[in-house]
């Protein structure tokens, strides 16, 4: 990589193939969303008809709306629970079973989703038999399932941020007279806010994308977007799905580009400020006159 900053032809080729592999399918998906033909693989001229029919498809629209609602509700709950769990793992003194606790928090990340989904389904069914709640499978059960899954990710992100944060900041706040709860809201929370935000976005993505857990926990009338797409694909490809995918790519792409732009800008500004601070201090350094000690008697 470092041979004069130039890539060898082999590396260049590998890079091109890799990018093609990643992006050609997405590109063809976008192109065919503007296809007039009903056949997905045959180009029949430019048309926006699939976009029009997409916005008339009640099933898809309600699935989109349900997915978005679940995603945000699950992310909100996961952020609260995950932050608390991360805080306990990073800041509390070790207690008996703390390793087990940390392992169990992160278990949903490594557990096969089929198991998680199935076990939750069984739990909800027995709960319904025992106490009559939840009465049906739908928004609530999916929300609980997604929250469990996402919470693990938030806990890990928040914990790693807390671990690298200077613990002295909290001690300093306490030393200056702030009580623990206040310290959490005034010092800790603002400083881990970026981790919480990225945990939230990660949760939204995970929830929007989830198919397996949802399949176990959804009931009649509560079909999420991935479920709709999956069932449609099984019945044969439909250019409406291409249109839906294109819109998704557009929205996600815009977000990523904007976020990158703002983050890069902030970083540049910060770097400039740090460089300036260093320069401002430099001339103030005096030349310590070591020679003022003198060297008497040397001819």
């Amino acid at each position: 990589m470092h041979n004069g900053g130039k890539l060898s032809p082999f590396l260049k080729g590998a890079l091109v193939v890799g990018f093609l592999f990643l992006y050609v399918p997405i590109l063809s998906l976008i192109v065919y969303s503007f296809n007039a033909s009903k056949l997905v693989t045959v180009w029949g001229g430019f048309s926006l008809r699939w976009y029009a029919s997409l916005f008339e498809n009640e099933q898809i629209l309600s699935a989109v709306w349900l997915s978005i609602r679940i995603a945000f509700a699950a992310a909100a709950a996961a952020v609260v629970l995950g932050t608390v769990a991360g805080l306990v793992m990073a800041r509390f003194k070790r207690f008996p079973g703390s390793t087990l606790f940390a392992g169990m928090i992160t278990a949903p990340m490594v557990m096969p989703e089929v198991i998680t989904g199935l076990s939750m389904l069984l739990l909800f069914i027995s709960l319904q038999q025992l106490i009559g709640v939840p009465t049906e499978r739908g928004f609530f059960t999916i929300w609980v399932g997604h929250t469990t899954l996402c919470m693990a990710y938030v806990a890990v992100v928040v914990r790693s941020r807390l671990v690298e944060m200077d613990k002295n900041l909290e001690d300093a706040a306490m030393d200056l007279g702030a009580r623990p709860l206040k310290i959490f809201f005034v010092i800790t929370l603002p400083l881990i806010a970026p981790a919480i935000a990225s945990g939230f976005l990660l949760s939204v993505t995970l929830s929007l994308d989830d198919l397996v857990t949802t399949a176990f926990l959804s009931g009649p009338g509560s079909t999420t977007l991935p479920q709709v797409i999956f069932s449609k694909v099984r019945l044969g490809l439909n250019p409406e799905i291409n249109a839906l995918a294109t819109i998704t790519v557009l929205v996600v792409g815009t977000f990523v580009v904007l976020a990158n732009y703002f983050m890069l800008n902030a970083q540049r500004k910060r770097d400039r400020a740090i460089a300036e601070a260093m320069r401002a201090d430099a001339p103030k350094l005096p030349d310590v006159p070591l020679e003022s000690l003198g060297r008497p008697g040397r001819a």
Partner: protein, 380 residues
């Protein structure tokens, strides 16, 4: 025990100084490990006291107990007559300047300094008056709205100082106050910091591993090792009259000779020192039994180096020059004696010129000697 405390207090009163902070028999254990081992210490108002020791000696744990971040396993801490041993950190009239400064990165300089005042619920105009007074004190007025990352190391240190002084604490704790600065900036900042502290008149305890920093800044120093406070005194007391080998070697450089007491009269002690290949004579008695194992500490600057043979007697030996470290105004000679012991001697740069003698060089034979009022006898 009570009598001893009472008489000590009486002595302090006579001297016009009463203990302001009193640490009595403080112990801190972490599991089996004793981090702080029965420390007793009294500190007077307006004093700048330095706890000096190498890392892991318990000085930081002691400081954290004063701040309230740790609770002593045993013992008491009294500040201005109030028992603060178990007081929560946020209720103590004590503030601390952290080694890493611990400035809140999401707050401006002003907000950082105002933080403690806000916790006390002071009225807004009083907070802003106090903040601008503090900014004035540390000369950071024009940086008031900057964020910590926009400041250099030296500026951050001054903001941290201002923040810890803003609440006018009864006691200020400094944890390695200049440890995060580079050497050149540190020397300049030491005096600046002392001037600020003296201007405010705050009672101050600092923790440091840098003896130069402690000697420059503190009115008194406490030497700590393995959780124990070995010696407390002014910088010159500690340097001139160390009470044990650890202190003698830790503060400055010294040459230690182990030996047994051979003669102990009222006016002199003679120690049979095998490493020297002769006796060490000291011009005062120590009242110990004959044959007692003691050490004599002789500072390099008290040792005279001659190229001509000196008259036989105590406090002298012949050796060979092994190393010469030229340090400008003086040189340090490493002279190896017949026993193999290497003695360090500090020789002023004009020593040979004024005597009209040729400067000795490597492997030259020389004589080292010192006056009998120079060595300090150590029994521990």
């Amino acid at each position: 025990m009570k009598d001893a405390v009472a008489s000590a207090q009486g002595a302090a009163k006579e001297a016009g100084q009463q203990a302001y902070l009193k640490i009595a028999g403080v112990v801190k254990k972490f599991g089996d490990h004793t981090a702080v081992d029965h420390v007793d210490l009294e500190i007077h108002q307006h004093e700048i006291f330095a706890l000096l020791g190498s890392s892991g000696c318990g000085k930081s744990t002691l400081l954290r107990m004063l701040a309230g971040m740790e609770t002593p396993t045993a013992g008491k801490i009294l500040l201005d007559g109030q028992d603060i041993t178990r007081l929560a950190p946020y209720n103590r009239p004590i503030n601390m300047m952290f080694q890493s400064y611990a400035l809140f990165p999401h707050m401006s300089v002003e907000q950082n300094i105002a933080f403690g005042l806000k916790q006390d619920g002071l009225p807004k105009d009083e907070i802003s008056a106090r903040v601008s007074e503090m900014l004035e004190l540390v000369q950071m007025k024009k940086y008031a709205t900057r964020k910590p990352y926009q400041l250099s190391g030296g500026q951050q240190q001054r903001v941290a100082l201002a923040r810890s002084l803003a609440k006018r604490p009864k006691l200020l704790l400094l944890d390695e106050p200049l440890g995060a600065l580079d050497k050149k900036l540190r020397q300049q900042t030491q005096l600046e910091l002392v001037n600020t502290l003296e201007k405010v008149g705050v009672t101050c305890i600092m923790v440091t591993h840098d003896q130069e920093e402690a000697m420059t800044m503190a009115t008194r120093i406490g030497i700590m090792s393995e959780g124990q406070l070995l010696q407390v005194g002014t910088p010159s007391q500690i340097y001139d009259y160390p009470n044990c080998r650890f202190t003698a070697e830790f503060i400055g450089e010294t040459n230690l000779f182990g030996g047994a007491v051979a003669v102990d009269e009222a006016d002199r002690v003679e120690i049979e020192a095998p490493e020297l290949g002769g006796r060490i004579r000291i011009g005062h008695g120590i009242t110990g039994p004959k044959g007692m194992e003691v050490w004599a500490s002789v500072r390099p600057e008290d040792i005279r180096v001659d190229i001509r043979p000196v008259e036989p007697g105590p406090n002298r030996a012949r050796g060979k020059v092994r190393e010469i470290a030229y340090l400008g105004s003086y040189s340090v000679y490493h002279v190896q004696l017949a026993s193999g012991k290497v003695v360090k001697a500090m020789v002023p740069a004009n020593r040979w010129y004024e005597a009209g003698e040729a400067e000795p060089t490597w492997n030259d034979e020389v004589w080292v000697s010192w006056r009998d009022d120079m060595p300090v006898v150590l029994t521990a």
